[in-house]
């Protein structure tokens, strides 16, 4: 691999560069094999979606500063999701991509450490998403921002800082996963400390993220803004301890009791909940993912409220975003099995998706309601109640759309352009009126509430219909 180099360091650096080049080539070939030419359109679609989204927000009176803050928040959240690959390691890729062998898994056969492979893999992902996802997003933003008087340098800066926000997200989840391989209690303590720091005001997430540099570029903000992301990216692979302990883990029988508790007839929901609960991060990853989305939403609503004359509804906004964020839970409930696992049993795909929906709701709804309850600390109960109605209904819609469009492979959305467009359009159809209702709540609370509940109920009905069709649709495709 590294050849007979006289200096270990340069040989090592050369090896890393070659591995990075080959991983990029591998990624490209993988995409080409999976999706062919369709993948080439993906950046254009991201730019178009980004531009339309930014434009719609400006129509509602949201300032460009608030939009930029929101973009950073959402990209950070996306980075967190991508970084969770570290939570489940090889199984995740196998479930997403099938039975593939990739360079990142070659530590046992090549004279390269697992940590170096993981670090290079992360760098490859960072370059990949920065070029194919974040750059088009910046282009979409630029189309609106430049006409609104935002300087071109600021738009270029947005690309750099959103890449930093993405890196911060990836680094955070990977480091937490890495620490989790050594001590679960340490993860709980770290997350708790972070939460306490943010709530008490001792930690300012905006300053300690690349957004701080975006909003006030200086040497100091560059250090405070990018420093944590770089530190976490270095710490993640170091903290990771993938070595198999060799000890066969046993588990007490939870299946029967859980099945009886949730009155599960065919066991699909029970099996799914157990698999999520026993995988890395357990059910806490659902709570964590919803918590981050909750934090981002609250931050955005505050930004909008302070930068405009609007008084948005926390309840509707949080309910909508948490409902949309339940997509993450969908990917977890479909991560550990595939349609093939059920095709040898006398169970219809319809019943399988019904079981999956049950597991999805059992995991996501309580987690979302926890955060809506938390909002009671500063949001009026009536408004939270609206959110508590909107959230599960939107979650039902998200399940139906995702099941119908992607079946057991929700993560293909990230690569398959037609799927991405269909899915994005379906979500926009419901989320846009709901976000408008949230923004208009201060001016017309009754109408906004009516629209929010009406749209959510309608969406849930569509979601139920789509979920019912998902089973027969995928059954036909598989046969």
């Amino acid at each position: 691999m590294s050849g007979a180099d006289s200096t270990g360091r340069s040989a090592s650096g050369g090896l890393s560069t070659r591995l990075l080049t080959r991983m990029i080539r591998e990624e490209w070939r993988l995409q080409a094999e999976l999706f062919g030419d369709r993948f080439a359109v993906f950046p254009l679609v991201v730019a178009a979606f980004g531009g339309i989204g930014v434009w719609l927000l400006t129509v509602t009176g949201t300032s460009m500063d608030a939009i930029a803050a929101g973009v950073h928040g959402l990209v950070f959240f996306f980075g967190l999701q991508v970084g969770t690959i570290g939570l489940v390691g090889r199984d995740a890729l196998r479930d997403v991509l099938g039975d593939v062998t990739m360079l990142v898994f070659s530590a046992r056969t090549l004279p390269v450490t697992w940590r170096r492979l993981l670090a290079i893999f992360m760098l490859k992902d960072l370059l990949y998403y920065s070029a194919l996802f974040l750059a088009p997003l910046a282009v979409g933003y630029a189309a609106v921002a430049l006409s609104s008087g935002v300087p071109a340098t600021q738009v270029a800066l947005l690309w750099l800082t959103t890449t930093g926000a993405f890196a911060l997200g990836v680094g955070t989840s990977l480091t937490l996963a890495g620490v989790g391989t050594r001590s679960r209690a340490a993860v709980v303590a770290l997350v708790g400390l972070l939460a306490v720091g943010i709530v008490t005001g001792h930690l300012d997430p905006a300053t300690l993220s690349p957004y701080g540099f975006y909003s006030d570029p200086s040497v100091r903000t560059a250090l405070t803004g990018f420093g944590p992301a770089l530190a976490l990216l270095a710490l993640g692979p170091l903290a990771f301890e993938p070595v198999d302990s060799g000890v066969a883990r046993s588990a007490t029988d939870r299946y029967s009791r859980l099945r009886a508790t949730i009155r599960d007839h065919d066991g699909v929901a029970t099996r799914t909940v157990l698999e999520v609960a026993r995988s890395s991060g357990s059910v806490w990853k659902v709570l964590f993912s919803m918590g981050v989305l909750f934090g981002v939403t609250v931050f955005l609503v505050r930004e909008v409220a302070s930068a405009s004359t609007l008084t948005p509804s926390y309840g509707i906004a949080v309910g909508t975003l948490l409902g949309l964020g339940a997509f993450t839970t969908y990917s977890w409930v479909t991560q550990f099995d595939g349609a093939a696992d059920y095709r040898r049993f006398p169970v219809s795909m319809d019943a399988v998706f019904a079981g999956k929906r049950r597991a999805y709701l059992l995991l996501s709804v309580p987690a979302g309601l926890v955060y809506l309850a938390l909002a009671l600390l500063w949001v009026p109960a009536g408004e939270v109640l609206i959110g508590a109605v909107v959230f599960p209904l939107v979650a039902v819609y998200v399940f139906g759309v995702t099941a119908y469009v992607t079946g057991f492979s929700p993560n293909e959305l990230l690569f398959d352009t037609p799927l991405f467009v269909a899915f994005g359009a379906a979500l926009a159809l419901v989320s846009i009126p709901l976000i408008v209702a949230a923004l208009a709540y201060g001016q017309a609370p009754t109408t906004a509430t009516g629209v929010a509940i009406g749209v959510s109920v309608l969406a849930a009905l569509v979601g139920i219909a789509l979920a019912r069709r998902a089973g027969p649709r995928w059954d036909r495709q598989l046969r």
């Binding site: 046993s250 588990a251 029988d253 299946y255 065919d266 066991g267």
Partner: protein
């Protein structure tokens, strides 16, 4: 009475033919082995017969049920062990077999779990997470799930893969006893010694076509199944060559120039 009957079963994927006019009959109580080179259509045959895949044309009957129109009924009365499939990573064998009981809708599963764990030697691993089991132990659990509902017919794709020699012998004994009780086994295997030792009838399939059927017990003492297999496959290859036959593969994802097709083209196999 035939447990399995097919007439002109054909499966095409665009311009690839995975199965071509396959007609066979497997009587009840038979231990039938389907042999063939890689990509010859063995797995496709099992997937069609168990209602996992629809044929492009032709008909099939499995224990009196049509696997196309009534695939859930077929899966209810048969057991299926696909090749290279593991129990769910984060369930223990006990929990997985409980799930199998639920999804198959039968009661008193706990007794059967203990019985099968004892028979296949994984009692001490019943409460171990499946992800921490060895490949052989996982295969034993998968064998248990195929038999635990006591079906009249079981389809197994490579039954002895990853099993140690002692467990292989025990599984072979079990399969013989199972068929002696009047049940039917349909095996797909690359291992000729398995077919030679166990099967009461073997079918040799090449390029999706049944090229020969034979009872290994009726072979001459100096005749080897390996030689018979090789001669039949090579004869079929020559016939195809004479008739300009196409070179099908086992599925849509297999490129014509991959290793499996290369194996087919030379008539070799990995026994």
């Amino acid at each position: 009475m035939a447990a399995i009957e097919t007439h002109d079963l054909t499966k095409r994927y665009r311009d690839l033919t995975a199965l071509a006019d396959l007609s066979l009959s497997v009587p009840e109580g038979e231990l039938f082995g389907l042999l063939g080179p890689n990509g010859s259509g063995k797995t496709t045959t099992i997937e069609i017969l168990t209602g996992q895949l629809d044929p492009t044309s032709g008909t099939a009957s499995v224990l009196g049920h049509d696997p196309v129109d009534d695939h859930l009924a077929v899966r209810e009365v048969v057991g299926i062990l696909p090749e290279r499939e593991d129990p769910p990573s984060f369930l223990t064998p006990r929990e997985y077999l409980q799930f199998v009981g639920d999804v198959r809708g039968f009661d008193a599963v706990d007794d059967r779990i203990d019985e099968w764990a004892d028979r296949l030697g994984f009692v001490e691993h019943l409460d171990t997470l499946s992800t921490d089991l060895s490949e052989g132990e996982r295969q034993r659990v998968m064998l248990a799930q195929a038999f635990i509902h006591e079906p009249d017919l079981v389809f197994i794709d490579e039954p002895l893969v990853n099993l140690d020699p002692i467990m292989q012998a025990e599984v072979k004994d079990h399969m013989r006893e199972y068929c002696e009780r009047g049940n039917t086994l349909f095996l797909s295997t690359h291992f000729l010694e398995v077919a030679e030792e166990l099967c009461t009838s073997v079918g040799i399939v090449r390029d999706g076509t049944l090229v020969a059927e034979r009872d290994p017990r009726e072979m001459d003492p100096d005749e080897q199944l390996l030689d018979y297999f090789r001669s039949e496959v090579q004869a079929a290859a020559r016939r195809d060559g004479d008739h300009g036959g196409e070179s099908p593969t086992s599925g849509p994802s297999v490129a014509p120039d991959d290793d499996e097709s290369a194996v087919e083209a030379t008539g070799e196999f990995d026994a």
